[in-house]
């Protein structure tokens, strides 16, 4: 048994961390929220790295998920999940054009997309559309309602379900990175902040809350690896694995970001602090590519047989 990342995947993660940690940060999320500044790193900068096209270049979903986790740590946009889903749907797609897949409800990365995909009457279509956005809860997801204008049928409807699941796996991998980072920030603050003469992280009430969030992150990491592996190597397990990781990502990211706020006390729920920027991810991502209630229902339907 070797349920672990390979040396190559660890090197890939390290390279991705180098790039994303310089190219995006919660400050970019804040700027987008406050005055509609462009998202970071943005399509062009990500495309220059080649990370977006890992699947098209013969890499695995697990490879791409390792990158997604690093992107999630800094609230990067556009989503890695979107690149992955489109790569499965339309293997020769030009990902640098700005792509978005339209389901019911607002679509991920749609606000800046020029090429849209949708399933219409059992047929995969590709084409242009117009977008309208509401006031963003999390601006980094580029959400918009899409009205398709000119579309053309293309092959690939049979890949729709698989592409959706790959998207769920990658979105969960991004959430893993966001949750991991939220716990790190909370732990650091609990070491630094003093109350009643000692670090607040020495109090069990604070410590245990952070540990619960940490345990959640490690549980999520286990499912994120398994689900990505299943997408690559064992498609029969993917429906269960994708639903489980989709549901757990929502639960764990919410717990991690709400813990981050709570551990910070008063500063934690100010506009000025970054905690809410991570929290916004949690509150939006749970609804993307199907919601957590649906995902847990799927886990039960597939397992109660």
């Amino acid at each position: 048994m070797n349920f672990d990342l390979s040396d190559e995947q660890r090197a890939l993660a390290s390279a991705a961390r180098d790039f994303f940690s310089k190219a995006a940060s919660p400050a970019d999320s804040r700027a987008a929220l406050e005055d509609g500044s462009p998202l970071a790193p943005g399509l062009k900068a990500v495309a220059d790295t080649g990370f977006h096209a890992i699947l098209q270049e013969g890499g695995t979903v697990l490879d791409l998920s390792v990158v997604a986790t690093e992107a999630g740590r800094v609230l990067s946009a556009p989503s890695i999940a979107g690149f992955g889903r489109v790569s499965v749907l339309d293997p020769t797609a030009d990902l640098t054009a700005g792509v978005s897949v339209v389901d019911a409800g607002p679509a991920l990365d749609a606000a800046t997309a020029t090429v849209f995909y949708a399933l219409r009457d059992g047929q995969l279509v590709r084409g242009a559309g117009t977008v309208t956005s509401g006031p963003p809860l999390d601006p980094t997801r580029g959400l918009a309602d899409v009205t398709l204008t000119e579309v053309t049928p293309i092959d690939g409807a049979d890949r729709w379900e698989h592409a959706l699941r790959v998207g769920q796996v990658l979105l969960a991998a991004e959430d893993l990175g966001t949750a991991e980072r939220a716990v790190e920030i909370g732990v650091q603050y609990a070491k630094d902040r003093k109350a009643f003469g000692r670090a607040i992280g020495s109090y069990q009430a604070v410590k245990h809350s952070l540990v619960n969030a940490f345990v959640g992150v490690e549980q999520l990491r286990s499912l994120a690896w398994w689900a990505a592996w299943a997408a690559d190597e064992n498609p029969a397990e993917l429906p269960l694995a994708a639903a489980a990781v989709k549901g757990l990502a929502a639960t764990v990211l919410e717990q991690a970001t709400e813990t981050l706020i709570q551990v910070h006390g008063g500063i934690g729920f100010t506009w000025e602090h970054d905690a809410h920027l991570y929290w916004r991810r949690a509150k939006v991502d749970r609804f993307l590519l199907g919601d957590d209630v649906e995902a847990y229902d799927t886990v039960a339907r597939l397992s109660l047989v």
Binding site: M1, G201, H208, A244
Partner: protein, 399 residues
């Protein structure tokens, strides 16, 4: 990444599987009561058969009767026994905890006298650590050993002692110098459980069954040659035992927590009789619990992969225990919940599970202690200040 055995592991697994199949009728089964009946003949026989095949004490050194094998081989044997429906050996506490302590700290004479008999189940061992007044704070234990010439006189009480009712020997942690700090004045002994003054009483749990015992020591005499390690160095000796426990309980089978398959089948068989609204609620609860159990399983595989590469499980292994016991409790509760009107009677397997599972969040380190361990050793958070710091044991008990 893969979930396959290496060629060496696959070959070993095949060898183990064949041996178990060839001897299956001599091995006991989960649920057949062989470990709980007063007559342990079949349970002892079961372990002896595995010992004769070379599958007990796998990670022990060869010169004390072990196989000199790897933790991964141990995990493979545990998995194959599990698949064949064979429960843990009746000598588990000895194999996993007492034996390794004797190997590390015993005299040559003790090793000669005890270890092979322990592996072959001629002797059953127990571990005498916890006390009524010292559970999580183990080093606060009060059982006294007072030197009398070549011997020690022991008085006190232990509790939560698994298998004490059957045990021939135990490793016993005592206080030998109360004027030192609580960790400094402890000494470990091997004690003959049949010696005069040793009384074992079953301890009945909230589930109604008695899986543990209380053990009383009234003027029990132990010869100094039965001491394990130096006088007043018992805490360090005990750490060997507890680290072995982590490997035994945390890293062994790779299927940490409750596998839950039976509960899922039961819930699946019941759900159709509920209203549609209720079915949706049960599915929502079940989906959340099952997802946690899946995650616990794959967290266990990460641990097993680390063992396979030769690493020892660290404190992060506790993460799986925390998540797994919580989900296990929720699953048992859900099984009771879908039982319908029968849910108010204490009958059927899920009531017993429901009443037994709270203990899992306490035994082998409470959830709170595990969270402290993870918080302090993995996340690096500072410990809670200790009111007894710098005090001798005598002074600390007056706090």
């Amino acid at each position: 990444m893969n979930f396959d055995d290496t060629p060496e592991e696959a070959a070993y697994r095949e060898q183990v599987r064949t041996y178990i199949a060839d001897h299956r009728d001599q091995l006991i089964s989960v649920g057949d009561g062989a470990r709980r009946e007063g007559d342990l003949t079949r349970a002892r026989e079961s372990q002896r058969v595995m010992y004769e095949g070379g599958y007990v004490g796998i990670t022990w050194p060869k010169d004390v009767g072990g196989q000199g094998g790897s933790p991964m081989q141990q995990a493979i044997v545990d998995q194959e026994l599990g698949k064949a429906g064979v429960p843990g050996h009746v000598g588990l506490i000895g194999i996993g905890m007492c034996g390794p302590t004797v190997i590390s700290h015993g005299s040559d004479d003790q090793k000669q006298r005890y270890l092979k008999r322990l592996l072959s189940c001629e002797d059953i061992w127990c571990q005498l650590f916890s006390e009524p007044a010292s559970g999580s704070d183990l080093a606060a234990l009060r059982t006294r050993a007072v030197r009398e010439g070549d011997s020690w006189r022991i008085n006190g009480q232990k509790v939560w002692t698994t298998l004490a009712q059957y045990a021939d020997y135990g490793i016993l942690l005592t206080r030998t110098d109360p004027t030192l700090a609580k960790h400094k004045g402890l000494t470990m002994f091997v004690v003959d459980m049949k010696a005069p003054g040793v009384t074992v009483r079953p301890l009945r749990q909230m589930s109604g069954s008695a899986e543990f015992n209380e053990v009383f020591f009234d003027d029990v005499i132990v010869h100094d040659s039965e001491r394990l390690g130096e006088v007043n160095d018992g805490w360090r000796v005990g750490l060997t035992t507890l680290m072995s426990e982590r490997l035994t309980l945390g890293g062994g089978g790779g299927e940490m927590g409750i596998s839950g398959g039976t509960a899922a089948s039961f819930i699946a068989s019941q759900i159709g009789s509920l209203s549609e609204d209720r079915q949706a609620l049960v599915r929502q609860d079940f989906g959340r619990v099952w997802t946690q159990l899946l995650a616990t399983r794959y967290t266990g595989y990460r641990l097993l992969s680390a063992i396979s590469k030769g690493a020892m499980p660290g404190p992060e292994a506790s993460a799986g225990k925390l998540a797994g016991t919580k989900a296990g409790r929720q699953l048992a509760d859900l099984a009771v919940r879908v039982s319908g009107d029968g849910g108010v009677w204490f009958e059927g397997p899920w009531q017993a599970s429901q009443a037994g599972l709270p203990g899992l969040a306490i035994a082998g380190g409470t959830d709170e202690v595990l969270r402290n361990v993870i918080g302090e050793r993995v996340l690096g958070l500072p410990p809670e200040p200790r009111a007894d710091k710098g005090l001798s044991f005598e002074e600390s008990v007056k706090l």
